[in-house]
Subunit: 488 residues, 2 copies
């Protein structure tokens, strides 16, 4: 059984949970607004000792702010910092007590964290980093200057250093990156009574503490002892008699998404992480999983609009331009190709200018339909619902859906085109082109994610651009091609 | 102190967590494939007693399948059911023991759940529903035939009936819909020793059991007693001395998203739900929050592609057509409007056919850029980072980003257009049109979500369609308009 002293005592937290954090933000914004009003007032009236007055009010406001911040949870301060423009953000950051810097920094989004770290001195960063556990430090490390990290590393004891090295060695999508080291371990041959006495020696138990890990002399995981088992069973019972040997355990190299699905499916609060040899090396808790799921969902959303990373909404203009340009460049290339397809049919358009007005409809609806298909397929792949055997079935189904939608909407548009331009043949070409383009969209909507998956790539990335590229160029080609063949 | 008998005993769960569920799916698929191979074989060789052989093999396979299913976690069976096409899905469903129907049904996605409920008899559904807790029953209720629900309702005791009525009365985005009733409550004036003795009388404690709720004689919540406090403190201590009075509590009408953010921010495992009068009525646990976050993220993703709801990938073709048609109809209308804008300039296109080839580039890049802006703003609004005071700042920033991107990419395209068509004035119009359309995109990208928010609507819904509609029609209008003014 390990000594309690070996455990990381969990920092006591300020608790203002019941209070409304939106309210805090409002109040802090008001303080800043009041500050600005005072400044304007003082300057406008051109009062004699205006600077003194200003300073006084400023000091008062600052004191009020500092008091307010002291009582806030680190996560709430992080939230407030993210919601403030840079100048006000830095002012609030200066008012936060230095010993809370570390816990606040790890709660911040990357972009905002960077903006604060840039303004901090070497010794401040070192002090902040030293307040953190190895797993938290590993999250912060990529944003810290390397000299600071070297200093911090030197100040750690051997065990912490080993943990930090381990935590930093894992890919950010691996279970190792979600892992912490706040475990409480016991031996199988002691009684629950002894376990209870042991626990009573702790000043504080880890967060998300729902089970103890049962290990042998060599740190091999033998089972887990849920706290509920500890509570309902007779104190004289041995741990071995009530521990669970079949509990889910993770490996540090496991995919974080797979681990997240296991947490969701089995409603876990924590899970042990073991090495290939079966040694207990850490645990994953549901709060880390929750953060991971939220971040993954947000990254998906941003990626969908071609935003490389979370953008601080108060970021300098050039940072935003950099975050967005790559996507625009890619789309420019695909749009240019589509434009050259049209260029090839300029002769046809010159003869029948109605084609120019109708062609974007064919391309646009194809893009929408293709994106519906790809969204369905990517989702089904992510949920593991698509096997080798279902591929043909999917093609058949999507093509049928496209055929029906094409005939219905294409038919309607064909009639409208006929009515607008008084040429039934133009209407027929419109209907045929829409149906064909929707079927092309369905085919590539299935083919692209399936192919990406077979190539071992993430089926969610880039599929949408490719589908749109095909349906744009394809739509123009099909429509203008059919028109050239049958109308001219 | 409540009697343990009043608590819902938690169903013991089959546990196969360590096993790989993907492996199970593979095996089950193999069983089906084997079955099919045998059928083909038997039929092809035209063996005499082929039906008998077939039946034999079939029975063997079924027995193997049933054995396999028996050892699987309900969530894993749900996962397998979702991954199978309808015929195989129904076969697996028939093999599942009837007493597990309830727990499996609540784990299923809506679409797949419906497909199974359709095939079930009245008495089967009633039996399945009766296995569930009130909060689970409330989730299932909308999919059950009303006669079944009436029968089930009649079979409940008064307390359960009241709970079911309460759980069903909340909006699906309210905390009430996430709530369960598996609470363990104690009085403040007993010692921890007494609490421990009390807990030992339970056969099983609720899942996600990290705290007891401390209530007074009238069920008012006085505080919470974290299990960790129970474990580390002296057994002689009174609950009142170690309970936490400042813990976060939720109201059933609170927004589920706000509650989810609180769970994320403060790393909660469970939180009490109290009525406006302060009475304890239930609790929310992190597993419900996890499911909620995942479902909300998925609904967002689907909505982005205009899919109304999760679509079972093996759904009948007509169900898919219905799920997708509304979006296509909306896009058809916006595409048609854009087409009429072009139609208004047919005279210009006839004179200068290059316009037809270049115009989709202007519209397309505008759409991409506008979607980037709207994604940023919607995200910032969701995170509460956008106040009244930041609106003007956001417009200024987005317009600047658009100006830079417009001049850069528009400039490049202007040069290409000049080179392609040998007319520098055409290039200049191209550059001007792209810059203007990107600025329109930025302005509507900020304005639409901000306006939706002010109107009390969800800023994430429909914004993308509106932006694209404006940048398409606007892009065509700006480009063709400028060309008509300056080139013809």
């Amino acid at each position: 059984m390990e000594e309690p002293a070996a455990e990381q005592p969990v920092e006591p937290r300020e608790d203002t949970r019941q209070e409304d954090f939106a309210q805090h933000l409002r109040e802090i914004r008001e303080l800043f607004a009041r500050q600005k009003r005072v400044e304007t007032l003082v300057h406008n009236q051109d009062m004699p000792r205006h600077e003194l007055v200003e300073q006084l009010v400023h000091k008062q406001n600052e004191a009020e702010l500092a008091r307010k911040l002291e009582h806030l949870h680190a996560a709430d301060i992080a939230y407030i910092l993210e919601a403030l423009p840079l100048d006000e953000r830095l002012m609030v950051w200066d008012l936060v007590k230095a010993e809370r810097d570390g816990e606040i920094l790890i709660e911040l989004s990357d972009a905002v964290r960077e903006s604060l770290i840039e303004t901090m001195e070497h010794h401040e960063l070192k002090a902040a980093a030293e307040q953190l556990d190895a797993d938290e430090l590993a999250d912060l490390a990529p944003d810290l200057p390397s000299e600071v990290m070297e200093d911090v590393f030197r100040s750690l004891d051997t065990e912490e250093r080993e943990r930090l090295r381990a935590a930093m060695s894992y890919d950010e999508d691996a279970v190792g990156a979600l892992m912490d080291f706040d475990m409480v371990t016991v031996r199988a041959d002691v009684t629950l009574e002894v376990v209870q006495r042991y626990l009573r020696r702790f000043d504080e138990l880890p967060d998300q503490f729902d089970q103890l890990f049962v290990i042998d002399r060599d740190d091999h995981l033998e089972g887990v002892l849920p706290i509920t088992a500890l509570l309902i069973n007779d104190p004289e019972t041995e741990v071995a008699a009530v521990m669970r040997k079949d509990a889910l355990s993770l490996h540090p190299e496991d995919n974080a998404e797979t681990a997240a699905q296991a947490f969701e499916r089995y409603d876990l609060v924590s899970a042990p992480v073991v090495s290939a040899g079966g040694k207990l090396i850490g645990r994953v808790t549901v709060d880390a999983v929750l953060d991971y799921i939220r971040e993954a969902a947000e990254a998906d959303q941003l990626a969908h609009a071609g935003l490389k990373e979370e953008e601080d909404i108060f970021a300098p203009v050039m940072d935003s331009v950099k975050n967005r340009w790559a996507w625009l460049a890619i789309n420019l290339v695909t749009a240019f190709i589509a434009s050259r397809v049209i260029g090839a049919f300029e002769g046809s358009i010159e003869k029948l200018v109605a084609l120019a007005a109708l062609m974007p409809i064919v391309a646009g609806i194809g893009g929408n339909s293709g994106n519906q298909t790809i969204t369905m397929i990517v989702r089904a792949i992510a949920l593991g619902q698509v096997g080798q055997d279902s591929e043909r079935r999917l093609y058949r189904k999507e093509l049928k859906v496209a055929l029906i939608n094409g005939l219905a909407w294409g038919g309607l548009l064909g009639i409208i085109a006929w009515w607008l331009y008084g040429d039934w043949r133009l209407g027929a070409v419109m209907t045929a082109a829409m149906t064909l383009n929707l079927m092309v969209a369905a085919a590539v909507g299935v083919a692209i994610p399936m192919t990406l998956q077979k190539l071992g790539r993430d089926p969610a990335v880039g599929g949408s651009v490719m589908v749109t590229a095909v349906t744009d160029s394809g739509g123009f080609f099909i429509f203008l091609g059919l028109a050239t063949l049958f109308l001219l």
